[in-house]
Each structure stands twice: as structure tokens, then as C-alpha cells.
Symmetry: D2
Subunit: 321 residues, 4 copies
């Protein structure tokens, strides 16, 4: 990491491109605007075999669930009615004798596979599209996950298997790559990243999470991932990438090794360009299938929960090949 | 309603068809097994314009959220970090100056648009596929929503707009219809229900919910919907319907007007045949579009959250026309 | 209410007495400092018959629980283990065959009988003792309920039964009284408010709550209670009152009828003088007993839960006569 | 531990004394019935110096909170309003300018210092007083913590400092003692256990908890504590002990070293005799003071929260010396 003082994002991203205002002063879905009906058809055109894949991690996995270090703890799911009530004579009785089970959950909205609201993260005094950062207080009044969930995501997805490309089960802690690497991986896979593609970038990191003691996983927490450069940001902008989907918790190398800044791409891509981020997305099964049949492109669909005022929402994306 | 004593479901459904064992002794997804790759392709073949619709109701709507009467209360979403923390000097600080908002939620798993686990409801001592009802206690150890969420749902969906068919904004409390009515509605729409179609049945009921004082909506609670008959059950079985999706809270008339039994179709279709139920699904916008362009069939995709041991899970289905 | 513009608290309470710094720059328990060992003994000296009373309202009362209008909803208590699990074969098994029941709760910390943290409420930029208001953000880092709970409250309590004094079952909405009325009530009861007494003021309001439809109770929400005057504040200061305990949700008339200011006494007494406030305290049974035996003074003990960083905490005070 | 098969509690406690029916068929507070007004006065008579001690552990201690191994996790406290909202312009505005902070909590009712409901634990088909074990399902309909909280606890408490008595900072894992040891400790302290005394037994165990890595604390989980014998049970019965209070999580040696049975005293004393159990009670500060002034007896007061249907409830006992 740099010996120099860590610059503020305002400085690091001075002159970085912005899409604020591009889709109107009230826009809350950003680069998802690229995904018009034509893009949906382009995605649907990739359907060949009818194979499907769901990409959420389990909520309540015995190993524990992956989450960014901090207050986010595991979900708590509790039954409020089940057979035990009926055996005990305390179940709700209905004419005809039906019985049922019911439950509730306490969870962090970003504690599983999830879409970030565009306002989830920012620097300076403004979130995406110039809304004041104060609009996040108490509830996300602007650029919440709700408009994203109302719109939904459907388009041409392309899997970029960086782990396989580098001949690894999973990338190392802090290992980086950039847009050139993504293009090289695509080429090696025999496909090509096209404008408005939804990028699914696999590092193998979730496989590492589930096979590793938690202490070891979180020690010196630094994920592998994309790393900031002005060129990468320009490439996302030029390619009109609507959505970045990865199998890491935060979609980029946690700390930029050049500047020392934490999560600069969230700011350059999400806050400034409105690129939506889907995080903690399970890609191993899909990737194995792509490696087998050689088809790395598909219809990608995702619809996070419509949580009013949410900073993010859990999602179970569904891919159709 | 019948003056006779209400029969037990064991009696009412004696001789009713069953799919237990059909897909193996360990099957937990039931009629979703009908949705093989060929069915996915059949659904994808309906895509024409690239229009998309998301079908979840909002979690935390200002009017309150629809739920079956009982303990299920509204979701509680709470920020745990936001701009206010940073203005106060109590936000988590990162190199480079990024700030973020975060939140958690407390909710009933069946308190919004949702897929029932096949084991969610039963009569006698067994849930779907003959698993003991005791397996629901504490957690849904068998036929939980997890396998449904792992598989995901994709196939040819068909909207059956019963409200429009009957020239109403929404059906009345307790108003019923059956499979013959569904077929008539399809015919009136210029389409046809085909084997293995995913049925989306619109009653207009959620529109009624959101435009009506809660006291009035819940008074003498009885929803409109499909009503039990042996013929209807045979039709679902013969047609190999994988999934029943409606805009009511419980997918059928709450109390069977003939027998007086509560929710017999949950038992005849879900418990016995393994038909998956998606409830509280918002169909008004989709229906308006179908009425306009005359296309009532489409690719229906849905992937409820992968909640381990869940009796159900929230979902935001996504339709591609 | 005043036709004049409502003054800011800064203006209303200009020149109002303050105890900031009186017990040191780090003090977080305020007027509870008055309750030294001598005061505990003075309280204990009131014990005569050995009768005891617990003063919390029930958490989860069938009628619903009293709370200030706003987001605070009812508590949710859920079993996570019980006999039903054992009947189902899913209970935790221990050698020897013991079985158990267990549960969890979701609740607002100020949604039942409760002590306010001294920092719970403020005006301007500072909470009690001059701590910056920013110290409340995310967690109550200063003047939380924890130091109050660590110290506990024990001293001479005196019941002032304003409802009986005025010959009413309960005071009217918005009905007010002041320190002169408290002294008059004491005199009528044959007792006297002495320095450092813990004041338990009964309005009958909780009895009204539990016997009234919620809509009626909350309509035009304005509680009866003490009303602000500079003289009243001086009296509390001179009398060194450590703790004000009432059977209303907010311990004072909700809106000051003279100035139109909301809850000025919370600010004049709690924020400025450090008087602790206990709210939603059930006094009817105690009052009936006092009326019967003529003993209105007693040992009052209370120990709210030691919630780290809490803005308040539930409490079940215990009185010994 | 015994090489013999572990007996069932029905066998181990055959012939063990019972108080079922002693205080009526509907009694739900058991041995607390011993604590009549006379006992309260006897407790009050021990007050000498006016010193007070609160005995709850903190909810949300940085080290983590002590709880019996199993599903009980730490409490989650979250602000729902604070200064940050006001700085952001999203705080609730009131005439006069008051601002406030508010919060909520999610917690296990037995996850902190707590009183067990008498029905919390049982063997066979019945809980305390012969109520059917089925009455625990869904909610504790009988012998919940509510009647205990309604009554409250006040009486003569006596601290029995087993750790000091044995010259240790804290007892070892699995270290046992019995009623003879309690009497010996009392004698060494220069006092005497009298009928109807509330027993506060200190092992130093909570001090060990807070100073030890959690992994080490929970490894091979077995607490020190009282150990079962028929004589000990007879002694509690003869002495009419109303309440056993300890600084361990479960008030007795976790596994009886003779029989191998888990928690037999919960069954012999709580289920059969109705002795109330207060667990995870912090006694170190009180004990240090007793050692210094030589006064080991005092007025003990405790009033757990009035949680309707609760299996237990958090409590912050308050001792007056």
C-alpha cells in the first residue's frame, strides 16, 4: 500500500465521469436505465438449453453467512406456529382441521446476497444523482433499493470467471484485476463483453468463505476484486455497464492498493455512474456449467425485495441459459 | 354455507389424487418438477416485446401490508447507520472518506408476496410427500421453502384476469370461480391454458386492499378465489400445473362455501399434489398491459429467498413479455 | 393555547436553573446524586407493614401497550422452544430427560414502564450536563440509561394522588396541575413533600388507557400532567427532587397550554436539572392501598435494565410500605 | 461421572418432596408465597448503612453477554431516532424545538440476568403445580414469569460467598458444593441462614466469564454450583427457601457428577418445590462490600419485567444494606 497520505475520494475521483442528471433529476435507478426492452430481448436471445441457476447464498447456512465486518450479524429465524402447537392443543384451529407452520425473521438487509441501493454509499455531501446525503438519515428517502426492485433487472449476462482464468480455486486475499483482465478472461472463454452487458465476475471467494474457519476468513479482511483506475471507470462508462455482480461481499478489492482508499469503485461506479452493485452472489455452480458447455452468456434476471426506504435488499437472481 | 357439520379434510379429500412419492421419497419441490428445461424454453418462447414486470407488493407500504389475519404484523425496518452518524462524528470512518447507510428488518416470512413451502400447511399427521408433521416443529426440516428457492421457478406463465372477465374492478368478498371459469377467461382473452402452465389468477383483490380502510378489508375476512371441487383438483393434476399465483392472501376462497372447510385447496393441491403456491402477488400493472397488447402469456420467473428451514419466503417475481 | 408564536425552548428556558457540572463534568445520573445512603435510610424508615407493590405495566397486555404516538409499536414475544418441540421429537435432549421452554422479544426500549436516560431528550446542541447532542447518534455514548441502572434508585417515595384529590377517576385530556397542587394534594392526604422525596404522581391516566378504545385514547393526543412555570422549576430545584414518577406516558401535559411548547418540563427538569423521569408507571393499586391505610410514603426502589447505550430501559419498580 | 446409565428424572426424583397444590391449584409463584409481609419486614430490618447494589449484568457488554449454550445470541439494540436525524433534517419536529433519541432491542428473555418462570423447565408431562407441559406451547399460559413479576421479590437476603470461603477468585469448572457447605460458609462469614432467607450464592463465575476468552469459557461447558442430593432438597424444603440467586448461568452444577443428569436441581427445587431461580446475577461488588463491612445480610428486592406469557424475564435486583 502507498506510503503517501491516503487521498480523499473527492480528490481521487476529481474529473471522474458522472451520470448525474443523465436520466433526469429524479432518477433513482441509474445505469439500469440502459436495460430497455431491447436489452431484455438481447438477453433472452441467449437462451438455448433452458437450464436455470439461482444465485443467492442461503440465509442461515450452518457455516454462518458472509457479511462485511461490522455490526451485521447473522439472521435469526424463529417459528411462531408449528406442529408442536397442535400436538399441545395450542395451535390455531380451523374448520376442516388444517394445521400450519409460520415463522418470522430478523436480518440485516445487506447480510445476504443483495442489491445495494444507489444511495447506499457515498462521499462528500451527496449520494447518487446529487441527492443530499442527509436524505439517507432514518430512512433512504432517495435512491433507495425500492425503485431498483420495482424495475427489476433483466438483460444479457456474461460470466467472467477470473478464478478459472487464473487457474485457481479462488483468488487470494487482496488479489486484483481490472477491465483488461475481464476482457482477457472473456476472450479465453471464447466470448466477448458487449455494451450494456451485465457482468458476473467470479473470484471463487464464496467457496473460500464456506470452506474456511471464520477467523481465518476475516483475518486482515481484504477481498480480491476489481481495482480502481481512471481507465476502468471510463471503460464502464463507455460500455454502459448497467450492473456489476460478483461473488464477493463488496465487489472490488477492499482497499485500493495504489491509493489506500477503501472501496473507491463503489463511489466511482455506483455513486457517480449509477452502476448497480449485486454482492455476495453465488456463482460456482453456474461457472461449472459454463465451463462444461462453453456458454458464458445468458438471460440474467434479478428482482430484489421491494423494501420501502431500504439501503439494500436481499435477492435471489435467476439465470436462464 | 353448509348447515351440515363441517367435514374433516381427511374425509373431504378421501380419494383425492396425490403425488406423494412421484418424484422420489425425498422430493421437496413437488409440481415444480414439471418445470424442466423444455418448459423453460416454452416460457422463453413467449417473449416478444422485452417488457418486464415485477410482481411483489412493497414491504412497508404506507397503507400497511396485506397479511392473513393472526399474529403476522407489519415489517419493521430500522437504519443502523446513515448520514446522521457522520454529521455527528459517530459514523464508521474509512480511508478516503466513504460514508454509508445500513439497515435491518424484522418481518414475518409470509407477511409479503411469498412462496409457501410445500410443508407450510397440512392436515392429519403428514405434510407433502408423507413427511411427518412433526418435522415442522422448531424449523421446517422437510419440504421447507429452501429447495423451492434453490430450484427457482421459470416457465410459461399465463395471466387469467378473472376481475376483467367479470367486468369488475375486483371480485367481491367470498366470490368464487373454478377451473371452468379459468378456461373461459382464457378463451375470452384469446388464449389457452396449456399443460404445465404457471397460472397467474387476478381477482383485483390487492387493489381493493390498498384502497380500503383496513377495518373494512378485514371485517368478516373472506377472500374471493378458486373453490374446491374434485373436478378442479383432477384438472390441476391432469394439466400438471406447477404453480398457482394469485393476488390474494391465500390463493382460494377462504372458506369453502359448500363444505365450510377452511382452505381445502391448499391441502388438495399443495399438500397432496405438490402444487406450489405464490400469494399476495401484485398483478394489476401486468394485467393492464395484457389487456392493452392482448398478450396474456409470457416467461414467468420467480426465486424466493433461500431461507434455511423457512415455512415460506418473500419473493419478487419478474415477468418477461 | 397561545395565539402567539411558539417560542423556542432556548428562549422559554433562558435563565432557568441548571445543574450541569454540579456533580462533575462526567456525571450521568444527575439528581439521583441526591439519593445518598442517608436518603435510602430515610426511605427505609417509612417501611411499616411490609406490604409491597410492583409498578410496571404488562408487556404484551391484551388491550395493547401504552406508548407515545409515533413509531413505537407493541412488543413481539416469540417462543423458540417449548413442549411442542418435545412432542414432535425436535426438542433439545438432555441426560435425565429435562425439557424447557425459551423465548425472545422485540421491543421498543421506551414502549413500557421505563426510565428515560438523561440524554433521551434535549434542545439546542447539548444534552444533560453539556454533553454534545451528537453523542446520541447511533448509540447514547453519554448520559445513557446505563449509569442510572447501575446506580439504581432507592429512597423515600411519596404518592401524590391528583385524581383522588380532584375527585376523579382520571384527569381529563390536557388537564394540568403544578407544584402547588402537589403540595395541596399531599396536605389533603395528611402528609408532606420533603426535600429529596421521589414523587409518584397519579393522574389515573393508565386506568383510562386500559378501559378506552385506542382510537379514542390517542385522538388529539394530549395527556394530563404537570405544567411548566419558572416557579415549578425552582421548586424542583430547591426541593432537590431526584426522580419524577407518573402514570402517564410523558410525565407532563403534552403541550404547555401557555407557550404551546411540547414537553418543556422534560427539558427544564431532566435536561437542565438532571431530574430522572420514570414514565408509564402503574399507580392505581398502590393508590388504592394508600387511600385505605392512609400511608402515602414508603421505600421506593427501582432498577431499570442495564442496557448499554440505551436511551431508556424498561423497569418494574417495587414499593415497600 | 457415573459409568451407570443416566437415570430419568422421574426415577432420580421419585419420592422427592413436592409443593404442588400447597398454595392452591392455580398458584404460579410457588415458594415466593413464603415471602409474606413479615418476611419483607425481616428483610428491611437488616438495613443499616443505606448502601445499595444493583445486580444485573450489562445487556450488550463489549465482552459479549453470558448465556447458556444454544440458540440464545446477544441482544441487538438499535437507535431509531437521534441527533443525526435532526442534523439531517429528518428528525421528528415539535413546537419549541425539543429533540430526542429512541431505540429498540431484540433479545432472548433468558439472555441476561433473569428470573425463570416456574414453568420454564420440567420433566415428565407436567410443569410446576401440575399444570400440563402442553401449556408451555406457543406461550407460557401457566406459571409464566408474569405472576412472579406482579408479586415482586422482597425479603431477607444472605450472601454466601463460596469463592471467598474456598479462597479462590472463582470456583473451577464443575466444582460442586451443597447445603452443608452453604451453612459452613455462612458460619465462616459470621452469620446464619435462617428459614425463608433468599440465598445469594457467589461462585465468582461471572468474573471468570468476563475475563476469559469465550471459547475457553464455553469449552466443555460445565459450571460450578450446588449439586443434587435428597438431603439438599429436604433442606431447601425445610428451610422454606423462596428464591435461589447465583452468579452462574444455571444455578447448579450443569451435570450432576453422581447421576449424570443435567440440571436436576431445577427440577427438584423449581419444578417440584416452586423455588424461584434468579440466574446470571452479578455478585462481585456486593461480595467485596460484605467482606469489608462484615454484613452479609440485607434487604433483597427484585422485580423482573412483567412479560406476558414469558418463560423468564430480565431483572436488575437491588440490594439495600
Amino acid at each position: 500500500m502507498s506510503q503517501n497520505p491516503v487521498p480523499h475520494l473527492t480528490e481521487l475521483l476529481a474529473g471522474s465521469p458522472s451520470n448525474w442528471g443523465k436520466w433526469g433529476a429524479n432518477d433513482e435507478v441509474g445505469a439500469l436505465n440502459y436495460l430497455d426492452a431491447g436489452q431484455v430481448l438481447r438477453g433472452a436471445a441467449e437462451i438455448r438449453s433452458g437450464k436455470t441457476f439461482t444465485l443467492q447464498v442461503q440465509i442461515g447456512h450452518p457455516h454462518g453467512d458472509p457479511a462485511f465486518p461490522g455490526p451485521r450479524g447473522p439472521a435469526t429465524r424463529v417459528n411462531i406456529m408449528d406442529r408442536g402447537n397442535y400436538l399441545s392443543g395450542t395451535g390455531t384451529v380451523f374448520p376442516g382441521g388444517l394445521e400450519f407452520a409460520d415463522d418470522m425473521i430478523v436480518m440485516y438487509l445487506q447480510g445476504s446476497s443483495q442489491y445495494d441501493a444507489l444511495g447506499h454509499l457515498w462521499y462528500g455531501d451527496q449520494i447518487y444523482n446529487g441527492f443530499p446525503a442527509e436524505s439517507t438519515s432514518g430512512r433512504m428517502a432517495k435512491a433507495s433499493v425500492l425503485p431498483i426492485a420495482e424495475k427489476g433487472i433483466a438483460g444479457r449476462g456474461i460470466l467472467l470467471d477470473m478464478a478459472r482464468h487464473r487457474g485457481k480455486e479462488y483468488l487470494d486475499k487482496g488479489e486484483t484485476f481490472d477491465h483488461e483482465d475481464l476482457m482477457a478472461a472473456a476472450a479465453a472463454q471464447g466470448c466477448e463483453i458487449r455494451p450494456r452487458d451485465i457482468l458476473l465476475v467470479r473470484t471463487g471467494w464464496l467457496g473460500y468463505f464456506y470452506s474456511t474457519p471464520r477467523e481465518e476468513f476475516y483475518e486482515g479482511f481484504i477481498e480480491p476484486g476489481l481495482t480502481y483506475s481512471p481507465e476502468l471507470v471510463e471503460w464502464f462508462q463507455k460500455m454502459e455497464i448497467p450492473n456489476l455482480v460478483t461473488d464477493t461481499i463488496a465487489n472490488e478489492v477492499t482497499t485500493d492498493p495504489v491509493s489506500g482508499v477503501t472501496l473507491p469503485l463503489h463511489n466511482a461506479l455506483m455513486r457517480n455512474l449509477g452502476v448497480t452493485f449485486a454482492e455476495i452472489i453465488a456463482l460456482d455452480a453456474l461457472a461449472a456449467d459454463c465451463a462444461e458447455d462453453g456458454q458464458y452468456t445468458f438471460l440474467y434476471t434479478a428482482a430484489p425485495l421491494k423494501v420501502v426506504d431500504g439501503t439494500g435488499a436481499p435477492v435471489n437472481p435467476l439465470v436462464v441459459k
